[in-house]
C-alpha cells in the first residue's frame, strides 16, 4: 500500500526561553504513523494532546518556538519520497495548496472580511497557478458547481454567508487545486449537527472525486465514526491506539479509547455517560511511565514507571498499554512453559523476562516489541 506521509518517531517540542528559564513542552513525543494513499485518517484526543502540533508539523509550519527535536516526516506524493526537514521555506510554500493543503477549524474566520469570495479564490489560486483571471474565475465556478455550492457566493462577502456555507467555501478554497494530502483541523467544530453532516459529506465527496488523502483532526468521536477510515488516538503527545475505524469502535483495547467511545451517546442506551476523571497532563512535565496512568482506572504499578510498548493486536490494530503487554507476555510465558515442560526451570527462566514493577524492562520475548 502506498504511503503518502510517513511520520517516524517524531518529537516536536515547543522550546521557549524567557528570563533565562528554559521551558520545553513536549507536544508530540515519539509518534510513528503512516498515512496511506486515498484514506481518511482520523486523529482523536482531548485538547492538549498534541493534535494541532502534529498538524503544524505535517504542514511544515515550523515557526519558533515549535522545533523538531527528533524523528522525521517524509512525504511521498509522486515519485521519490521527500524528507520535510530537507525542504526550504520556499519549497514548502510551493508545495502548499498544490500537493499539501489545509482546511482550518470551522469556527475560524479565515476569509478576508473585506474581499469578495471571488477575490479570495483569485488570490489563493493566483499564488500557485499562472493563468488569466477569466480562466481562474471559470475554474472556480466550475468547481463550486461540481461540489454543489451555489456560484452566487462568489460575489458575496464572508459575513453574508452562513457559518456552514463559509466552511464549505473554505473547503473548496483548500481543495480546488486537487492537493494530494489535505489536512483538516476540526473541520466541523462550531457548526450545528445538520451542517456538520453536509461538511462531512463534502469532504468524502472530494476524496472520492480527486482521489486524495485526508488527515482529519477532531476531538469529536462521532465525526470519526462517520468520516474516517482509520483512527489514531493520541494522548499527551503519544499514540495510545490505532485501528480501522470499525475496529476501534467495536473493540477498543486501550482504556483511554474505551473512555472516549463510552462518552458518546447511543440511541436506546439511557445509562449515564461517564467522563474520564481529571484532565490531560501539562506537557512540560508529563507523568512518567504511561502518560495516561494518573487517570486510568486499571493503572498498575508498572504503568507509573515504564512506558508501555506499542503492540500489534490485530491487522492494522496497534495499542500501547501495559494491560495488553502483560497479557501478551503471559501468553508467551505460557507457550514457553508448554514447549519446555520443566516445572522447576520455568520460573528461573522466565522471571527476568516478565516486567517487574520498578525493575529493568526486558524486550518481553521475541514478539513483544513490534515497531
Amino acid at each position: 500500500m502506498h504511503i503518502v506521509a510517513n511520520i517516524n518517531d517524531l518529537r516536536a517540542y515547543y522550546i521557549t526561553e524567557a528570563y533565562g528559564v528554559r521551558r520545553t513542552v513536549k507536544a508530540v513525543d515519539g509518534l510513528s504513523i503512516a498515512i496511506r494513499q486515498n484514506e481518511i485518517y482520523g486523529i482523536a484526543g482531548e485538547s492538549g494532546c498534541g493534535k494541532s502540533t502534529l498538524l503544524k508539523v505535517l504542514l511544515g509550519m515550523l515557526t519558533p518556538p515549535l522545533t523538531i527535536v527528533g524523528g522525521s516526516v517524509t512525504y511521498n506524493f509522486e515519485g521519490e519520497p521527500v524528507d520535510m526537514a530537507s525542504l526550504s521555506q520556499a519549497e514548502l510554500r510551493a508545495m502548499r495548496w498544490k500537493e499539501l493543503s489545509y482546511v482550518p477549524q470551522g469556527s475560524m474566520h479565515v476569509l478576508n472580511p473585506v474581499r469578495r469570495i471571488r477575490d479570495t479564490f483569485r488570490d489563493f489560486i493566483g499564488a500557485h497557478v499562472r493563468a488569466p483571471r477569466r480562466e481562474i474565475d471559470e475554474r472556480v465556478r466550475a468547481y463550486l458547481v461540481e461540489l454543489g455550492l451555489p456560484d452566487k457566493v462568489l460575489g458575496s462577502f464572508p459575513h453574508q454567508l452562513s457559518g456552514g456555507m463559509r466552511q464549505r467555501v473554505t473547503i473548496a478554497l483548500a481543495t480546488i487545486l486537487s492537493p494530494r494530502l489535505i489536512v483538516a483541523d476540526e473541520p466541523t467544530t462550531a457548526l450545528d449537527v445538520v451542517v456538520q453532516r453536509g461538511v462531512i459529506q463534502l469532504l468524502q465527496e472530494i476524496r472520492e472525486r480527486a482521489g486524495n488523502t485526508m488527515v482529519v483532526v477532531t476531538h469529536d468521536m462521532g465525526v470519526h465514526a462517520n468520516l474516517t477510515d482509520r483512527v489514531a488516538v493520541l494522548y499527551a503527545g503519544q499514540l495510545m491506539e490505532e485501528a480501522d475505524t470499525p475496529t476501534i469502535f467495536a473493540q477498543p483495547r486501550h482504556p483511554y479509547t474505551q473512555h472516549l467511545i463510552r462518552s458518546l451517546p447511543k440511541i436506546d442506551d439511557r445509562s449515564e455517560r461517564v467522563s474520564i476523571p481529571g484532565r490531560p497532563p501539562a506537557l512540560d512535565n508529563p507523568p512518567g511511565g504511561c502518560r495516561f496512568h494518573p487517570r486510568c482506572p486499571y493503572a498498575m504499578e508498572v504503568c507509573k514507571t515504564e512506558v508501555p510498548l506499542i503492540e500489534q493486536v490485530g491487522p492494522n490494530h496497534r495499542v500501547a498499554c501495559w494491560l495488553i503487554n502483560e497479557e501478551r507476555m503471559g501468553r508467551i510465558a505460557a507457550r514457553l512453559a508448554n514447549a519446555e515442560p520443566r516445572p522447576l526451570a520455568t520460573d528461573t527462566q522466565l522471571t527476568p523476562q516478565r516486567p517487574s514493577p520498578g525493575g529493568a524492562r526486558s524486550a518481553g520475548g521475541p514478539e513483544g516489541a513490534i515497531r
Binding site: 510554500r93 489545509y102 482550518p104 474566520h109 476569509l111 478576508n112 472580511p113 473585506v114 474581499r115 488570490d123
Partner: protein
C-alpha cells in the same frame, strides 16, 4: 434605495443637527459673558470726551445695529441665522469694518495649503511605514524607525517647532523666519518657490509629529490584523507577501485611519494655531490668535462656525465613505 434610507439620510440629518447645535452654542456663549460689547466700544470711543446724551443714544443704536445686537435675543438669533445663510458673519471688531468672511478668506488658502499638504503626507507616510513595521517587526530598519518615532511623538509640539525655528531659521538661516511668502503674488516660479521655502519648516514640524503619531497607531492596528486567522491562512497558502500586506493587512486596518484623516482635514478650518503662531504663518490659526487677543467676538465666532461646519462635514464624508471600504457596514 435602502442604503439611502437606512444609512445616508440619518447621517445627513445628524450632520444638520450637529451644525445647528454648534452654531447655537457659538451664538449663546458671547451673550452670556459679562459686559456688553456695545458699551465697551462706546467707552473706548468716547473715553475722554463729553457727548450730548441724545447723540450718545443714536451712536449707541448705530453700533448696536452694526453689531446686529438690536431686539430681543430670540430676534437676534433668527437674524443671525438669516445673515449666516447669506454668508455674512458681520464685521470684524478688531479690524472694523472689514467683514469677517474677508479676513477668513485671506487666511484660509495659507492654512489649507500648509495643513492639507502636511496632513496628507503624514497620513500616507505614517500608515505605510507603520503597517510595514508591524509586518516586519524583527527587521533592523523597522526597529530603528520605531525607536526614533517613539522618541519624537511625546515631544510637546511647541518645543519641537521652536527647536526647528531656532536651528534652521535662526542659527542656520536656511529658511525664512516669518510669513507665508515674499514677492509679488502670481504664478511665477519665484513666488511659488518662496511659498514652498516659507512653508517648509512648519510643514516639516507637522509632518514629523503627524507621522510619528500615525505610525504608532497604524502599527498597533496592523498588528491586530496580522494576528487574525485570515492573514495567517493566506500566508500559509503562500499568497504573495505584497498582496497580503496591501489587500489583507492594510485594507483591514484602514477603517479607523479614514476617520482620523477626515477629522484631521475637518479640523483644518481651525487652523494650526501653535504652528502658525510659532512660524508667524498668515493662516486662520494666526488670525484666531489675534482675534482672541483683541476680543474680536465676531471673528472668533466666524472661525468657530467654520470649524464646526468643517468637522461635521468631514465626519459626514467619512461616514459616507465607510461603506465603500467595509462591506460589513454596507449590509448592516
Amino acid at each position: 434605495m435602502d442604503l439611502l434610507k437606512t444609512y445616508i439620510l440619518p447621517r445627513l440629518l445628524q450632520w444638520l443637527v450637529v451644525i445647528v447645535i454648534g452654531v447655537t452654542i457659538t451664538f449663546t456663549i458671547p451673550r452670556l459673558l459679562p459686559g456688553d460689547p456695545v458699551e465697551q466700544t462706546l467707552r473706548r470711543v468716547t473715553a475722554n470726551t463729553a457727548i450730548d446724551p441724545r447723540a450718545m443714544e443714536s451712536f449707541q443704536n448705530a453700533i448696536r445695529d452694526m453689531y446686529g445686537l438690536q431686539g430681543s435675543p430670540v430676534e437676534q438669533y433668527f437674524r443671525f441665522w438669516g445673515r449666516l445663510f447669506q454668508g455674512d458673519l458681520g464685521p470684524s471688531l478688531g479690524a472694523f469694518p472689514t467683514p469677517v468672511t474677508t479676513i477668513i478668506a485671506n487666511g484660509l488658502p495659507w492654512t489649507i495649503g500648509l495643513l492639507g499638504t502636511s496632513i496628507l503626507i503624514s497620513w500616507t507616510l505614517g500608515i505605510l511605514l507603520g503597517t510595514l513595521a508591524a509586518y516586519y517587526p524583527n527587521k533592523l530598519w523597522s526597529q530603528t524607525l520605531d525607536k526614533i518615532l517613539i522618541v519624537i511623538y511625546p515631544v510637546p509640539y511647541f518645543i519641537l517647532s521652536l527647536l526647528l525655528v531656532m536651528a534652521f531659521a535662526y542659527y542656520l538661516p536656511i529658511f525664512p523666519l516669518v510669513g507665508g511668502a515674499t514677492g509679488r503674488p502670481g504664478f511665477t516660479l519665484a513666488y511659488i518657490g518662496s511659498i514652498l521655502r516659507h512653508a517648509f519648516l512648519p510643514a516639516l514640524s507637522l509632518v514629523l509629529l503627524g507621522t510619528s503619531f500615525r505610525f504608532l497607531i497604524a502599527k498597533a492596528l496592523a498588528g491586530r490584523v496580522i494576528a487574525s486567522s485570515y492573514v495567517s491562512y493566506a500566508e500559509l497558502a503562500a499568497v504573495p507577501t505584497p498582496r497580503i500586506i496591501g489587500r489583507y493587512v492594510l485594507r483591514n486596518s484602514l477603517l479607523p485611519q479614514v476617520t482620523d484623516l477626515a477629522l484631521s482635514l475637518g479640523a483644518l478650518f481651525n487652523g494650526a494655531l501653535i504652528t502658525e503662531v510659532v512660524f508667524s504663518y498668515p493662516g486662520i490659526g494666526f488670525q484666531l490668535y489675534t482675534a482672541i487677543l483683541q476680543a474680536d467676538f465676531n471673528l472668533i465666532m466666524g472661525v468657530t462656525i467654520f470649524s464646526i461646519i468643517g468637522i461635521a462635514t468631514a465626519v459626514l464624508i467619512a461616514d459616507l465613505i465607510y461603506p465603500l471600504l467595509d462591506p460589513r457596514v454596507r449590509y448592516q
